[in-house]
Symmetry: C2
Amino acid sequence: MSAPTRPPTGPRLAESMLIGGGTEAVHAWLARTAEHCWMRVDRVPLDEVAGWRTEPDTGNIRHHTGRFFSVESLAVDLPGAAVPHWRQPIINQPEIGILGILAREVDGVLHFLMQAKHEPGNPNGLQLSPTVQATRSNYTRVHQGKAIPYLEHFRDTSGHRVVVDIRQSEQGAWFYRKRNRNMVVEVDGDIEVHDGFRWLTLGEVADLMAVPDLVNMDARTVLACLPSGGAGLAGAATDAFTTALVRSLDPATPGVHTIGDVLSWITEVRTRTDLHVALGPLAGLTDWTRVDGRIAHRSGGFFTVVGVDVEAGGREVAAWSQPMIEPVGTGVIAFLVKEIGGTLHVLTHARTEPGYADVTELAPTVQCVPETYDHLPARPRFLDEVLTSSRVRFDTVLSEEGGRFLGARNRYMIVETDADVAADDPEYRWLTPHQYEELLRHSFYVNIQARSLLLCLRSLVPRG
Amino acid sequence: MSAPTRPPTGPRLAESMLIGGGTEAVHAWLARTAEHCWMRVDRVPLDEVAGWRTEPDTGNIRHHTGRFFSVESLAVDLPGAAVPHWRQPIINQPEIGILGILAREVDGVLHFLMQAKHEPGNPNGLQLSPTVQATRSNYTRVHQGKAIPYLEHFRDTSGHRVVVDIRQSEQGAWFYRKRNRNMVVEVDGDIEVHDGFRWLTLGEVADLMAVPDLVNMDARTVLACLPSGGAGLAGAATDAFTTALVRSLDPATPGVHTIGDVLSWITEVRTRTDLHVALGPLAGLTDWTRVDGRIAHRSGGFFTVVGVDVEAGGREVAAWSQPMIEPVGTGVIAFLVKEIGGTLHVLTHARTEPGYADVTELAPTVQCVPETYDHLPARPRFLDEVLTSSRVRFDTVLSEEGGRFLGARNRYMIVETDADVAADDPEYRWLTPHQYEELLRHSFYVNIQARSLLLCLRSLVPRG
């Protein structure tokens, strides 16, 4: 209400998307930032993680303040599934954090304030991160560290334009009902750019999506929640594929299913899926052992829970310790895409993960760790097509959240296909990217992996 | 995909809304139905409810099959609230039931198949109910009773047109995360009309909204999820109030807040509200006593948990027993409405109830039992204005769900006001009815009381 009048946001987002380049300058800036900013991560046994204790009765691992997060267990019942019952370790982090990106017009074009940030789980050091990445424990200063720069613009948005403001889920296989508040806030007037921050256009970020392990998960989820500006991209197409892509981002383009049909399908899946979960003690899980200061599955698969000591430095030095989840193997996260009636469609899987707040979310066509299936007869549907296709449009390894996951990497792929599914397939539907954008105005429809892939897909809009 | 092509639904819904009348014929049909259809309800002590047992260790009350629902306790923490911590009895019914209404064109006008149905909690016998009202325990035949008529059209919708299909919450003060699947399915071809069923237009139902305790809660929530048909109602207005009302139902009419602003406000409230709840044993609640075969609050307020024996007859006779919640007093559920810039707006309260699936939902301006506050200095905001206003547009007592609540009645009111709230009031916003309709395409934004009131408000569109 009180924000100054500006032109509509959509065309300005499209304009920002079409201005790319500057990749070399960004790499040079990252290199300069890395010179006076470092992080050291050492593994330590879970028993020796300073500030964290294992509760004697439950085996759960908690911070001595009771804040931040805890590692507990989740008992899962999913009747009818290939594995209908299991128990697993899970991170319980009930607090809702803020993932916020500041936006501002620079020379008449929308720019986004990105941060070069270390996280202990990053495989390669600095990654391109949101302006603000703060748990509630952070921003209410449980750390008693220094103030978080730019946080005030997200805690009090009056006078600014709120472009994105929606809680979204994160990995439901590792987190119990984790939600973060994804925000993009446009400000007027001068904003001091602190060391380690830089204004980038959406096109510049899109160019950087092809760089392995650079744009971090938190930046990806926030930027994915931005609308693409639809019709404003129409002139950018250069060939049949990008024509279908640009058309698919236009709100005026219908999909093979209406959004009402898609919502009804989601209702049907969430009603049909009889998921029951219960948090419980980490001690006494049959298939998980705590040996050598870490918790691992007997098969060696899935993930381990480990401890780390972290030391980080720049102008100031900070040190802390924490448990982390270290996944086994590099996953494959892929959209199969197809032009239908001149419009690009994405083959969407309705996926149930035990930690989701609402049972089922829309997920990539393929989301798995292939080596898990090396010795099993059943392969995930469409995995082999993705891995053997010659029609690969995007293929980059990106990292997951480095604050909780140690070296968690997935190969993000976009692959053209001629495959089809029945119109009433219980688990798959063809959606347009714009339908994703409509659903992303609301919480818990689109999972974190699909949000990342949507951003990868939009990065294929030609620039400049 | 596979449904036959029909004209767009919106204009046909508007057309159905504008055809009222027939009230006398409906009353005559209800009277005829009541002649061969009866229900007898007798109170029994909770210890003597056949088929239900009180678990010795927890005091929780469960059906011997473990199905249907249970009565447990909920511990609630809501830091900063007037009462920041309490424990209360609550109904835990994790199954998602179906509330379904069949639609069909009769003489070219959409009609809806309504059922005259007894429920043990109804204060007055038969009420106008959805075509199908079935818990999963019902429709998977735990009762081993006869098949539920028309259920097949909702369990397999292929070939039909799905007009509404969305899970919505119910009373969060009495239910723990109860959700029902609200469905409207349009069918072609002949449908046999069984005894106790009748095709009505939306206008005919709207006329009946002014009759006390007639249109039941389940019918109200399903019909509220229907879009109103917006622009198709434009010609119906007869004065300034109805002009503003009809305008407010048109998707093309902006509100004082954009839907993006409204969604951001909901995100803000749900993030800020630090609600923690935990199910627990019903035994040992400090403020609740189990005496004389019922569970009551020491103050005599809120509600009691009671047992009933039910016998119902028509062509066949059925008998069962069950626990029910019997609220104390008749509530007031009111929208304050105001014409702003020629468009009717509804003053909406962001309300947190412990049993909600997602913390906070949009609620009426006023939702309370006034006598609770008779001896307290603080009155609910806007209650006195509602009770003393001379600008009352709607005022009818309606019943809540008679399958779980015994004689639960609320006075539903729509009252014009000149009151205002700050544009950034943390708890209240002015919304247009069309914005409600947009939100009702998704789960858990609009609470059950506001859904009923929205239907009451739309019933004020002039007919015939």
